[in-house]
Amino acid sequence: MSASAVDKAAAAKPANPALRRWMDFILLIAGLVGVWYGLHLWAGDVALTSPYATVAKLIQLMGQAWFWPHVGETLLALFYSLLIASVGGLGLGTLLGIHRLSGQIAEPILVALYALPKITLYPLILLIFGLGLSAKVAFGAIHGIIPVTIFALNAVRNIKPVYLKTARVMRLTPLQAMRTVWVPAALPEIVSGQRIGFALTLLGVLLGEMFASQQGLGFLIINAIGLNDVPTIMALALLLALFAVTVSSLLLALDRKLHARS
């Protein structure tokens, strides 16, 4: 009796959960494209091009030789700002997490700074960093560094004290303890922070490019806005969304793997 019930339960199990998840994702994307198409029908080409026209425009853009230096420029700026935001935020967050008092002092300040519309800082950034790559990098980094810091701070602060006690009982050197206990214990939350940090850093870089530059995707977007070139605006927004979703999914997969263990 019960054996047959077990079989029944086993039979109800779908063939391949990974496949089903992909199907779900594709269905969701299809739904979003449907909404997009509906909006397009409603608002018309003046405001929103159709999914098909957008993809066609994007493919056309990607076929142009001049397009790629812009992508390269944005990626370069993103790379440097991510480096600053991720590594800097991680280091700062870790220090603040280890030293409880400074963490308690700094966290509300960080949160308040985070809530400040950073776009209002742009004039200041320009005055400090001048034009060009450094300003973009700075703008990207200030968008990303605070969330990364806050996540890392909480990750380190929330490490179970008993892990640290274990490290002491094992008589680990501070370096050993850092490498083999602190970092792996805090890693899942750190990766979560990096995901948010990535998205915001990218946004920051784009905003920076919109103000003063002659290269980069942000520059192309602001130009397209100026020219009221809706297909290009849409194609670039799509490209950015695809890029962000891809990176985010990769980090999410890592995130899930790390969280699953703990």
């Binding site: 089903r20 998840r21 779900d24 994702f25 269905l27 969701l28 909006l39 409603w42 608002a43 018309g44 003046v46 405001a47 929103l48 008092l101 308690q104 002092i105 509300p108 300040i109 949160v111 308040a112 985070y114 809530a115 400040l116 519309p117 950073k118 776009i119 209002t120 004039p123 200041l124 005055l127 995901r195 948010i196 990535f198 998205a199 915001l200 990218l202 946004l203 784009l206 905003l207 919109m210 942000g218 977007i221 806005i225 809706v230 605006i233 670039l236 927004a237 950015l240 969304a241 890029f243 962000a244 979703v245 990176v247 985010s248 999914s249 980090l251 999410l252």
Partner: protein, 251 residues
Amino acid sequence: MSRVGWIRLAIVLGAVGLLELLCQTGVIKTMTMIPPSRMAVELWKMAESGKLGAPVAKTLSNVLAAFVLSVALGFIAGLLIHSLPRFRRALDPLLASYYAVPFFVFYPVLIVIFGMSDLPIIIIGFLFGVVAMIINTLNGLDRIPPVLLKVGRMNRMGSLQTALLIKLPSAAPYLFTGVKLAVAYSFIGVIASEFILSGAGIGYDIAYAYNNFDNRTMYALMLFILTTVTAVNMALYIWEQRMLKRRMGGR
């Protein structure tokens, strides 16, 4: 105030003092930045002359609208998404990458949908805030100990009663994180839209002062935003600490 609070205050005052010193001694030029004391004086003058009233009212009411929408709809959307685990799993990669897309490029679409009014700007603020609220609502609902929901069933409670009397209070600490972020993003969304898309409001006035090299107005307004955001944050922080203290027993 606690010891930590005093140290924090001292650090902030120290930073402001240092800035003041650097500006007063000319290490930072007036063309670059005016001293904090001047910012405060300028802000006071603007407030007295009544120049501040209209843009502040406009921006703050837009922020408030965006915030209320984000929190309310974010919570409801969170409840719905949480009850659809497959949908949620598919949605996950989109939620986190969402912030990388610059929304204001869709401003024309929003004009089409919502007309020429404050609404498109409120919607941009809302779009920024709502996702943070959804993410944290999901987080909070995930962390409700299942046993509390069982207590609800034992007391034969309906789903609305359960949502209000068990899910909401139980997830409250996480919802609070969402609320704090929604405040931040409502400010960021509304003011950034005003800054980029022009029109009216504090963000626009900052952009305008910037374009006209009017550093006094620009910094006065930036000071205003900074203090407002900090004050709102501090109020939320204190409220949150009070709740957490009760719940965590000061641990």
